[in-house]
């Protein structure tokens, strides 16, 4: 069984559309994250949830809205997609938000905005 799974793996869409990426973890972890990796491979944190509560919200446009229906799921909804949103989006989870907790990443969603 995949520990952290994301769907879809590839997402190709037009500018202005709204899209969602889903993430689920079966590790029993309390904390989940969204990271964005741009074309230069820079991995940047976007959001973090602990037990369904938002704890990290980086300077991300309001068009990005995370939703955590339960602690095993963290979805990312993006409104009015722009060309600059093209990137690979990784979901991750960890047991807790402590300095020694390792992250488990999903396989990523390659988003291409045309």
């Amino acid at each position: 069984d995949t520990a952290v799974s994301q769907t879809p793996k590839y997402l190709v869409t037009q500018m202005g559309n709204d899209k969602s990426i889903k993430c689920e973890q079966n590790l029993g972890h309390d904390t989940m994250y969204w990271y964005k990796q741009d074309s230069k491979k820079f991995l940047k944190i976007m959001f973090s949830y602990n037990n369904k509560e938002l704890i990290i919200n980086e300077t991300v446009p309001n068009r990005f809205s995370p939703k955590s229906p339960d602690k095993a799921h963290l979805n990312l909804h993006i409104n009015s997609l722009e060309l600059g949103d093209s990137a690979v989006y990784f979901c991750a989870s960890s047991q807790e938000t402590k300095p020694y907790e390792k992250l488990f990443f999903g396989s990523g969603t390659q988003l291409s905005v045309l």
Binding site: K41, I45, S48, T97, K98, P99, K102, F105, G106
Partner: protein
């Protein structure tokens, strides 16, 4: 503040050694190392907590000098499977906000 990694890229022959450095301008709680192969997710290698400890994972080890806010990853007798991009991630508080460096691309050739 994003940590800075050096070098940006390394090309090795199988069996050679490499060192990847990671520096931060902030005091650190911990340093994390991950490896990402092309088209795949980053995979955890190790975490170093403040205290200057050194850790090892097969022929890959790392050190953390909290006074200098630096960490180094040592790859010994490199194998083809070591190829990929290595990221250091730093935590400067206990908020869980892991900030990654820009990555170091390692290519091991036969």
């Amino acid at each position: 503040q994003q940590p800075v990694q050096s070098p940006q890229a390394v090309i090795l022959r199988e069996g050679e050694d490499a060192v990847i450095n990671c520096s931060s301008s902030k005091a650190l709680y911990s340093v994390h190392w991950y490896r990402q192969k092309h088209g795949e997710a980053p995979i955890f290698l190790m975490i170093l907590l403040k205290g200057g400890e050194q850790k090892g994972h097969d022929k890959i080890s790392a050190s953390f000098n909290e006074k200098k806010q630096q960490s180094s990853l040592y790859l010994t007798a490199s194998q083809l499977s070591y190829s990929g991009t290595y990221f250091c991630g730093t935590l400067s508080s206990n908020t869980g906000k892991l900030i990654f460096g820009q990555g170091t691309t390692l290519q091991v050739k036969p």
